[in-house]
């Protein structure tokens, strides 16, 4: 099946710093989503981004489908950004399952 690798596995930032999280996937996809899992365990959908670039406030994401990777940028990080960030991809048949990466654990220190 498709493989999803996220890096780095862990990241510690000082409040106000910027960061880039990466997601590599092993096959062509028609869906890619970034999630933030908060301390209560909820999965918050950040972006639906099978290709191209999107921005939402301090967050932005870019997916280069032809090179099979996606990047999540966090600018001016805040302590509330702490948590686990997951990338998940779906194969070319719609209605198919999402395959999740192992996540990046982000800790933002004040």
């Amino acid at each position: 099946g498709i493989q999803v690798e996220q890096s780095p596995p862990d990241l510690i930032l000082q409040e106000g710093a910027n960061s880039t999280l990466r997601c590599n996937f092993s096959d062509s996809v028609n869906n890619l989503q970034w999630f933030h899992q908060n301390p209560w365990g909820q999965l918050i959908n950040l972006f639906y981004i099978p290709s191209g670039t999107k921005q939402n406030g301090r967050l932005s994401a870019t997916t280069v489908a032809t090179e099979r990777y996606s990047l999540l940028y966090i600018s001016s990080s805040q302590t509330t950004d702490s948590g686990v960030y997951f990338c998940a991809v779906e194969r070319n048949e719609y209605g198919n399952k999402l395959v999740f990466g192992a996540g990046t654990i982000l800790r933002v220190k004040s």
């Binding site: 028609n30 869906n31 989503q33 999630f35 209560w40 365990g41 909820q42 999965l43 959908n45 639906y48 099978p50 997951f86 998940a88 779906e90 719609y94 209605g95 198919n96 399952k97 999402l98 395959v99 999740f100 990466g101 192992a102 996540g103």
Partner: protein, 114 residues
């Protein structure tokens, strides 16, 4: 914005008992999913459901598990004879279907087996 709702938020059950986890997907969505996340691990696919039948299931989804859409609005996951290793967060998701449609996730049910 429409949401996927899951109940209960936390369920504690004795080993060997049956549990039913409930989900109300977004009303015009056609595809429904259950995922599982064991504490500290990644989210894993369990089963997808479309047109009143299972469309795909993982190797985790054995005879202990079943899904149902009993009334056109609820989508349930039943676990028979629960085991300690069934302790996990269970997420329901739904999708409108077609291309360029994301999956929308509920807040999850934390299942604790004692």
């Amino acid at each position: 914005e429409p949401e996927v709702t899951q109940t209960p938020s936390h369920q504690v059950t004795q080993m060997g008992q049956e549990v039913i986890l409930r989900c109300v997907p977004i009303s015009n969505h056609l595809y429904f999913y259950w995922y599982r996340q064991i504490l500290g691990q990644k989210v894993e696919f369990l089963v997808s459901f479309y047109n009143n039948e299972i469309s795909e299931k993982s190797e985790i989804f054995d005879d202990q598990f079943s899904v149902e859409r009993p009334d056109g609005s609820n989508f349930t996951l039943k676990i028979r004879s629960t085991k300690l290793e069934d302790s996990a967060m269970y997420f329901c998701a739904s999708c409108a279907g077609g291309f360029n449609q994301p999956q929308h996730f509920g807040d999850g049910t934390r299942l604790s087996i004692l």
